[in-house]
């Protein structure tokens, strides 16, 4: 059933691409300005669900803003926070994992202890403290999430490097007098890419949910930027009166995360030769 694997990558990739397109082309796609308030047209139901002749496909929120447009714009933050965090955490985690695995001994032990501290530290507190230090903002949220995400990369890369460094092409390069960092970069790093890609995909899914959770707790990005988490958080007390305020942003998070997870699944199956049928 290779086809199913391809199918997963295909569908997952499609959702991710849709997210990227939404984020980049938000001004073109959104029918309304996401910040445009219209207090007279508050809490209108979706146009297809009795929203009397309204132009709002997913209804309007508590300030009369178009929910569909806000969801499209909201993808920007999810994407920005997701991608940047995954990249930065990836760089940090891969670097530490690589040197720990490659040099071993003391370096390895220090990295292991630091990793343990981060694993045992509730990330929410870390995030709250960082937000308190630095104030709310996109960059700070990325920092806070990065601090909790690099560990996975570190562990995976360390393991890979441990086994890679015994392989002939690495020992050969060493014997030829290659510098350690050159070998790491030229010979070892490229071989960890498949696993790192898989870790990164799953990390992105987690990061998008975490960003939404922080926004939900009121620790996210400033209110002037529409995000799915803060839409949910603002909308949740309207649950009985206007459930679309909560349901649609929730669905947006869900579909996105679902797609990314699907992609990760598919990629892992593709990259992992052991799981392929002989």
């Amino acid at each position: 059933m290779r086809r199913f694997r391809h199918f997963k990558v295909f569908v997952g990739g499609l959702i991710l691409i849709a997210l990227v397109v939404c984020g980049l082309a938000a001004p073109l796609l959104a029918p309304f300005d996401p910040q445009e308030q219209s207090l007279e047209a508050r809490l209108q139901p979706p146009s297809w669900a009795g929203g009397a002749a309204s132009a709002h496909w997913l209804g309007t929120d508590n300030l009369g803003r178009d929910i569909f447009s806000r969801i499209i714009y909201g993808s920007r933050i999810s994407l920005l926070v997701g991608a940047t965090t995954v990249l930065l955490a990836g760089l940090m985690g891969c670097f530490l994992g690589a040197i720990a695995g490659y040099f071993g001994d003391g370096v390895d032990e220090v990295v292991a202890k630091v990793t343990e501290i981060f694993l045992a530290f509730p990330f929410l507190l870390l995030a709250i403290a960082l937000m308190a230090f630095l104030g709310q903002g996109v960059i700070n949220i990325i920092l806070a999430l990065m601090m909790s995400r690099w560990v996975q990369y570190c562990r995976v890369v360390r393991g890979e490097v441990l086994s890679l460094k015994e392989r002939e092409f690495v020992t050969a390069a060493k014997a030829l007098g290659g510098k350690d960092f050159y070998i790491l970069l030229r010979h070892v790093a490229p071989n960890t890419l498949p696993s790192v890609t898989v870790v990164a995909t799953f990390a992105m899914a987690v990061v998008i949910i975490s960003e939404a959770s922080l926004s939900f707790l009121g620790l996210g990005v400033p209110a002037s930027i529409p995000t799915w988490g803060s839409m949910l958080s603002e909308g949740r007390s309207y649950m009985s009166r206007a459930p679309w305020l909560t349901i649609f942003p929730g669905m947006a998070i869900f579909v996105t995360v679902f797609g990314i997870n699907l992609l990760g699944d598919g990629l892992r199956d593709l990259f992992d030769p052991k799981l392929q049928r002989q």
């Binding site: 199913f4 509730p122 403290a129 230090f133 949910i209 707790l217 909560t246 929730g250 869900f254």
Partner: protein, 330 residues
């Protein structure tokens, strides 16, 4: 071996405590201002700060905390005025109970689905199982919680929306776990009430874990199925059931247990949000409250507790290994 592991935990815990201490004290926000409220004048604040020893140098305060903590004295909470340990112990069973029930729910759902998916690999059942797992892991848990409250609690009135037990039911607290206590006392009404209160939060907290465990179970069963000894067992003519039970499950479980241990951190983080949404009186809720007013002492002990739990669970995971597979030694 266990001893060495415990000693290894000490520097990590110290590291955590120091980081927490610094973060809390350097982060803006002063508990005295927050506790004194709207009428506080700068004079009042200064006086109370002095009374509580908060005007001493940071390192002196940290040293004081550590030296007292070593003899088991964690001080009094700034917000509640009661001994920190008492507050924590009061709340801890609630969270442990919630986490355990979530874990159990997760295991009960995920292992059968995971194993079955693996055995029936690439069939419709398998795809349904894996898709379900994907759904579970992609649902934001606070959203799920709100939906549950709205539908199961409000709309259909099936389950209580908050708290741990109905008022009017007396439980003689022995363990602090309401489910156990009520069973010990043979009080089924109490058991039923406690269980009802636990279901929604446990579902909220356990869904993601169940999803992850399903996937891990499936892939580790697949992995084991390809091993030589399974082939051998099959070749020997053992029945399929016997192969699955004796050879595949036992070995696949090791990976599953590891992942469960590793996911505990996520479970504790998740408990913070779940307890907030359900007003569930556990330590996650307490942590949010104590951070909000910068109750240094309480926060510090709670975070350390999270750290200790993390270590204990990892140790337990290793112990469980030896039970599942006697060849592994601690």
């Amino acid at each position: 071996m266990i001893g060495r592991r415990l000693i290894g935990a000490v520097p990590v815990l110290l590291g955590i405590s120091f980081i927490v201490f610094l973060l809390m004290h350097l982060a803006p926000g002063d508990p005295v201002y927050l506790l004194l409220g709207e009428n506080a004048t700068p004079d009042d604040v200064a006086r109370v700060r002095h009374e509580w020893g908060l005007d001493q140098p940071l390192l002196a305060q940290y040293w004081q905390f550590i030296s007292r903590a070593l003899v088991g004295d964690f001080g009094r909470s700034l917000k509640f005025g009661e001994p920190v340990m008492k507050l924590v112990l009061e709340r801890l069973p609630a969270t442990v109970e919630l986490a355990s029930v979530s874990l159990i729910v997760a295991v009960l759902i995920s292992i059968p689905i995971g194993v079955y998916s693996a055995i029936k690999r690439d069939t419709l059942v398998d795809h349904a199982g894996t898709s379900l797992a994907l759904v579970g892991v992609s649902l934001p848990n606070f959203w799920l919680g709100i939906m549950l409250i709205y539908f199961l609690g409000g709309r259909w009135n099936l389950l209580p929306v908050a708290g741990r037990i109905e008022y009017g039911i007396d439980i003689h607290a022995v363990t602090g776990f309401y489910l156990l206590d009520s069973l010990l006392a043979g009080n089924l009404t109490a058991f039923w009430s406690a269980l009802k209160h636990l279901l929604m939060p446990a579902l909220t907290l356990g869904t993601a874990l169940a999803a992850i465990t399903t996937r891990i179970t499936r892939s580790s069963v697949l992995e084991v199925m390809r091993q030589d000894y399974v082939m051998t067992a099959r070749a020997k003519g053992l029945s399929e059931t016997a192969v699955i039970w004796h050879h595949i499950l036992r070995n696949a479980l090791i990976t599953v247990v590891t992942i469960l241990g590793l996911q505990l951190g996520a479970l504790l983080n998740g408990s913070v949000i779940t307890e907030t949404v359900f007003s569930y009186p556990g330590i996650g809720d307490l942590l949010i409250q104590s951070i909000a007013v910068r109750d240094y002492r309480l926060t510090q002990v709670l975070i350390l507790l999270f750290g200790v739990v993390y270590f204990v669970v990892n140790l337990l995971v290793d112990v469980v290994y030896t039970v599942i597979d006697p060849r592994i030694k601690l």
